[in-house]
Subunit: 415 residues, 2 copies
């Protein structure tokens, strides 16, 4: 089965929001073994939507719509599709009750136009909206399957995972199946990584290897297609082993993970605590660490010491260190890492000091970064990095380097 | 002139990345007075790309491509378009020199396939790539304009701003012009805001009013079309005044701004400094504040006091406050805000304590948040909020509420 995803909404064409729904659904459909050949975005305009539907009918079996199911006059997805297919809109009692219940729960007053949201295309399977009001729909005709999903990701994603996925799997049968696995690397550029596995990429057929760079990381997506006689997972395992043998030192995790998540898991498994003294990163490391639920088991406190005075007064860096070496120095990073672990009584202390830019500081170019790591019972270690890129990129990559540094030092025997 | 944006890349159809390029270009084109009617995403497949080009030629005058200009075998945008238009690819000497220079600058070894990137479609205007290797192109035929841009946003965005924009403006002439302005609101829901301006929305024609909700904020995009006899800006001014008269208390800024940016500007203009003691937000407030270049003028230090012990030992909250009222309390927020401003010697101290969830804490539900604001010379103020949503949403909205709280208290006489 092949699919097209049509997002409906003028806000997308005006550049007010980005089409994250297409990304989410594409990934889900790949996991279901459905090939997505096109994404289309069209505005809240009935004629142009009709034309987009007609084109999609020529080139896709499954057409998934997101957006345009809301209560306002702009929201015309349902009406337009029903019109194209010669179907009527009918009131769905359960959706109506759910809308009423939603208003009660959130203590708001229901307006008349919200009733429109309970209208569904006749003959469709209703996909319940547990995070909003507009129900989704799944409709099968002789040649096509149509799925209508709400626009807000907070409604669309849980609806698809709970109801949409099963509806598609049900009609897609169980022929050939696609398995895919993403390997994540940090600390190596895309070109350098590709050069090391060039022969594997050149020979690729099944599994395929798709490299992608972004946010200072490189990922390789391995995708295998299996049938009754082959096992996609085993094929991916074999390819992964070949890749890891060559660039394993930069590998840090699978699929939808992140360095901060891998660090959190590792610290939890070792029952270790961590604290941070952050200058150029301004709290980014701690913010990311505490974005993971359950962070209180491994993190108690940290200090954002943006000014030199703060480094001296709050993190007890000796003034002569800053006078002699500057705040952007190995020595300052050392003292920050050691002192913060003692102030916060943690097993690990990490420090970030450097120049986020755009201006230089203390004669150092933007991108000069010192990361200190102090692990209880080990000598303090400082990494001196020279990065390029925007202020945001330098800060964010510093945090990633910090995570990788700790992971590597805690698991050194592994490598 | 109307446009279609075609993104080329299988990684988009596999859901590995999100199409932020379409968003960026759409916004830029709106500002140039170009209507974008469709976005299309197509994979690295020559036949499907050909078909997408043929469809776009039917419905758009300007067709902008992103992606597929790189050095690898996957990158087939140039070849396919040249083939469709019956044009040849020729080596661009300047692009070749720039690619060689890029390799020298980054100290890397140039591989043979990188030469492919210097091939351009004959007769096109070359758009210089100052952040990567693949040059962009702008090509005019009898019926259409084609622009080819690289896929990585870090290359595409500066290229478009410096060279692409001017190329389009040059051919677009100066007929009717679209002006658009986004008004940003925080602290009011989309439905409530719409209810207050329902009559304006119902009567809208020129300017149009497009509401959009996201990240706890609501925006209204006012778009006016002017010709020789009318002034779009004046039309928007008039509509804005009507809207502000009704919901001005929730308004905080125009277009691409944010609450943290507005707060930073306000503090700079008042020459005031700020510090923060963050519990549930884990450093997010400080991280956002320091993401703005020049933050060192208004921010020196802050503490992430995630545990009760940290609140007591690092921010000097009296233990009896936490024993009696808990850490999630008005009293704790008060002490945190007052103490952090004295510890960091800042004019303003802000504190965040509460329950980010998903679990409840001290008998308080997730979403219970206390924000303390202490402005020098004023009594400390605490806001008690009850929010719903994910852990991320609660943390991020807490930071926004905090910014709005300070802005409102500093500008109270204005409202």
């Amino acid at each position: 089965m092949n699919a097209e995803i049509i997002a409906v909404g003028s806000e997308l064409l005006l550049g007010q929001i980005v089409n994250t729904n297409a990304r989410f659904l594409s990934k889900q459909l790949a996991d279901l073994g459905v090939n997505v050949f096109y994404h289309t975005v069209v505005g809240d305009n009935s004629d142009r939507l009709k034309s987009a539907i007609a084109i999609a009918q020529q080139r896709a079996e499954l057409i998934i719509f997101t957006g345009g199911l809301g209560p306002t006059k702009d929201d015309l997805t349902k009406d337009t599709i029903a019109g194209q297919l010669g179907k009527k809109l009918v009131l769905d009692e359960e959706a109506m009750r759910s809308i009423e219940w939603y208003y009660e729960k959130t203590n708001r007053v229901m307006t008349e136009n919200n009733r429109r949201q309970a209208l569904v295309i006749e003959g469709s399977l209703i996909l319940k909206n547990e995070n909003g009001m507009a129900p989704g729909m799944f409709l099968t005709t002789a040649d096509h399957k149509y799925m209508l999903l709400p626009g807000p990701p907070s409604e669309m994603e849980p609806m698809f995972l709970k109801y949409g996925q099963a509806a598609i799997a049900g009609v897609n049968g169980n022929q050939s199946r696609i398995e895919s696995r993403v390997l994540r690397f940090f600390g190596i550029g895309e070109a350098a990584l590709e050069a090391k596995i060039e022969d594997l990429i050149d020979q690729q057929s099944n599994p395929t290897i798709a490299p992608l760079a972004g946010d200072g990381e490189v990922t390789l997506r391995l995708t295998a297609r299996s049938d009754a006689n082959s096992n996609a997972e085993a094929m991916i395992d074999k390819m992964e082993a070949e890749i890891i043998a060559r660039v394993g030192e930069f590998f840090y995790g699978y699929n939808e993970t992140s360095l901060i998540l891998e660090l959190s898991k590792l610290l939890k498994s070792r029952d270790m605590t961590i604290s941070a003294a952050e200058s150029l990163t301004g709290g980014m490391f701690q913010q990311e660490l505490t974005s993971v639920s359950g962070a209180s088991n491994l993190f108690q406190a940290g200090i954002v010491c943006y000014s030199n005075e703060a480094k001296i007064e709050l993190v007890n860096v000796r003034p002569e260190i800053i006078e002699k070496h500057g705040a952007v120095s190995k020595e300052c990073a050392e003292e920050l890492a050691v002192n913060i672990s003692s102030i916060a009584k943690s097993d690990i202390g990490i420090s970030f000091t450097g120049v986020a830019g755009p201006d230089s500081l203390e004669g150092h170019q933007a991108g000069t970064v010192f990361i200190g790591v102090h692990i209880k019972g080990q000598p303090v270690h400082v990494e001196h990095l020279r990065m390029s890129g925007s202020r945001t990129a330098i800060r964010s990559r510093s945090v990633k380097y910090g995570c990788q540094l700790i992971i590597n030092r805690l698991t050194e025997t592994r490598k």
